[in-house]
Symmetry: C2
Subunit: 404 residues, 2 copies
């Protein structure tokens, strides 16, 4: 498997585009995106577990209930959530895209991201549709990425090439997500395309399994969005024998999907609202996987630890504290903690108690942009990784006046 | 019942004092406090549920296992947690206080607050003991309050007078707590004294019941401290018939205790690290109390809502979002939300959807120092209140370099 260029248009038979249609007042950023497959594709999705769900999720769920889809339409600037006419608007969005593309509305995935609770005006979308279709390209998905960004500061895309059934397959994904990011089912908006042939059932299985170890292990601020979802379309144009069961090809597919999802998770964490650092918490030596995940997530979510990382302060007591309140059954007297970055590794805690270390060296390690928090529980073989970011002045600034 | 002056020395037979002994390098703040009863007192306590527990909690638990205590010694500047010699140091602290006061070490409650994982040097405490005892006063507990403060910016104390068994009783409390504050059993350090006569069993019952609705409904940052505890000493010097069972007197006692604890909870929330606003989330119309509490806590803990309140932004979608991911079984289509302050009340959401409101008026309401977030679930009669604060630049600043 190798990393390639192209995001969601890396795979055969996919095009993407994006325009500014006017949902956002400012013209500096695109606000409407479209991803289309030349042929109907197997489609799988995972959604937020928030009880307050964006209307687009309800509509998407119905549209892909048969396991197939051919296009994704998505807007930023408005979440179309907590609005009385939300379902109607989301259905209209699908229908407009379907008409323009000459496909069935029931093959359209629809998504929205932005402010919750403000009515979404369908007119800019209606008017922009011809231009949106015209923007479709098989060479670049840069415009589509821009169209789904909100407080994101960098575009997020990845693609890989892998072998299945003797054929070369490609898979690529794009994502938006910066705040209101917390592991609880799929997070944020993620769209993945692949030309591998796989049945809808195996595609859903692959996605549902993988998000447990990727997007669900990601937190920026502990707030689980109302509009999160992750959608994969597999159009089969690579020509491999359709993956219908577990085996070598499914494993290759899972590996590719995991590579895409880990890369996007890291991009989202590193671009968390206001973030200056990507944090990766790796827990090893846990009695079981649940324990490892619970500990990793608790540490990555601690506001106090996140603020300490922003300050490059090796305050490992906050790591211990977050392990202690995680709810996991851990022997705190066996816990080891190290901090690691490109500048080196520094051990700060052994058997639940502090050890001597050079504050100067610790500072050097923690001033890097990517910090690994390594936790050894010394109670078994299970491992888990979680991703997050530091807590900064800018997170507060961005969210103190998000609507204005 | 009426509010009176005096904090923990308001009740008959209690003295308190505080000094700078040198645990903190800087002499600008006291770092060692003592509270003493003239006679042995019934004693009850609740402790953090964090698996990583400060050594002083273990020692205190053993000392008050018989239901009685006569003094509290507490230091700030060092939590005496995650240290190999923690228990020994905490035992020595008790013994030093006991010797100086001429009481049994097993009647001493010991507590520590500050940095986790740095050895606590007992010498400054040993050397300071004579001066500490000399500082005891029945007239003021200001020095004792200062001695337990860490990042607190205001002293926290309250006292009330109430009737039980035809006698006038008094009860007062002091607290420290600013960061690492999250509802999960008692939070922070809280010391309460009363001259009411009550059995240890009924005192524990009163405390355990009340914290569920007070300190456990409080969150500054979602981090549950390793050293939290709340201790009540009741020395009986008011001369009322000992409260040994439920009834009128116990109810009067519970009311007094609730008044003290609510007042301290509000003070702690309003003085949350970096906070500019006290937030009170009142949930009404819940199907049951658990639902009401779960919703109230989820909303008060949302980083996004806390940042919006800092920015005086009526972003009610974040309230709905936090209700949705709370885990409570709520019909989101029935939810009403209002914001209220001294400047008025503004309705922003009815039946789970936004309603028109004046942004200007909303701004006026939210620019006040104390904001009530009123949530109506319209599904029953249960209610709950939670307290918290806004998320500000200063929270990040304070916690970016806490140890240095």
């Amino acid at each position: 498997m190798k990393i390639i260029e192209g995001g969601v248009v890396a795979a055969k038979g996919f095009k993407a585009g994006g325009i500014h249609c006017g949902i956002r007042a400012t013209r500096t950023k695109r606000d409407l995106s479209l991803i289309v497959s030349d042929v109907k594709a197997s489609c799988a999705a995972v959604y937020t577990t928030n009880l307050v769900k964006g209307a687009p999720l309800t509509v998407t769920k119905a549209h892909i209930a048969d396991g197939y889809a051919q296009a994704v339409i998505v807007n930023s600037g408005n979440a179309n959530t907590c609005n009385a006419d939300g379902i109607e608007i989301a259905e209209t969005m699908s229908a407009l895209a379907a008409d323009a593309l000459g496909i069935a509305a029931s093959d359209v995935v629809v998504a929205s991201t932005g402010v919750i609770g403000q009515p979404l005006n369908i007119e800019p979308i209606r008017k922009g549709m011809p231009q949106l279709v015209k923007s479709l390209s098989a060479d670049s998905c840069d415009d589509a990425i821009e169209g789904i960004m909100t407080t994101d500061t960098v575009p997020k895309s990845i693609a890989v090439e892998f072998e299945a059934g003797g054929k070369t397959c490609r898979m690529g994904g794009i994502a938006k997500g910066s705040g209101m990011i917390h592991p609880n089912m799929a997070t944020m908006l993620v769209f993945i395309t692949t030309d591998a042939a796989i049945s809808p059932e195996m595609l859903q299985k692959a996605l549902s399994e993988d998000v447990k170890n990727t997007f669900n292990m990601l937190s920026v601020d502990g707030d689980t969005s109302t509009n999160d979802n992750c959608v994969v379309m597999a159009n089969g144009m690579a020509g491999n024998a359709v993956i219908k069961e577990e085996g070598e090809d499914f494993t290759a597919f899972m590996t590719a999907l995991n590579t895409v999802n880990v890369a996007l998770s890291r991009m989202i964490a590193g671009d968390g609202e206001g973030a200056t650092k990507l944090l990766e918490c790796k827990v090893a030596g846990a009695a079981d996987e649940i324990t490892a995940k619970t500990v990793a997530k608790s540490v990555i979510c601690s506001s106090l630890l996140k603020a300490a990382m922003f300050g490059a302060d090796a305050n490992w007591g906050r790591v211990l504290c977050a392990i202690g309140y995680s709810g996991a059954d851990v022997d705190v007297n066996k816990v080891d903690v190290d901090f690691r970055s490109a500048a080196g590794t520094i051990s700060v805690c052994r058997n639940g108690a502090g050890i001597e270390f050079s504050e100067e060296e610790a500072k050097k390690v923690l001033l890097e942009k990517e910090i690994d928090i390594l936790i050894g529980l010394n109670s078994g073989d299970a491992e888990a990784t979680a991703w997050g970011c530091d807590l900064t002045y800018d997170y507060v600034k961005i969210n103190g006046d998000y609507r204005t």
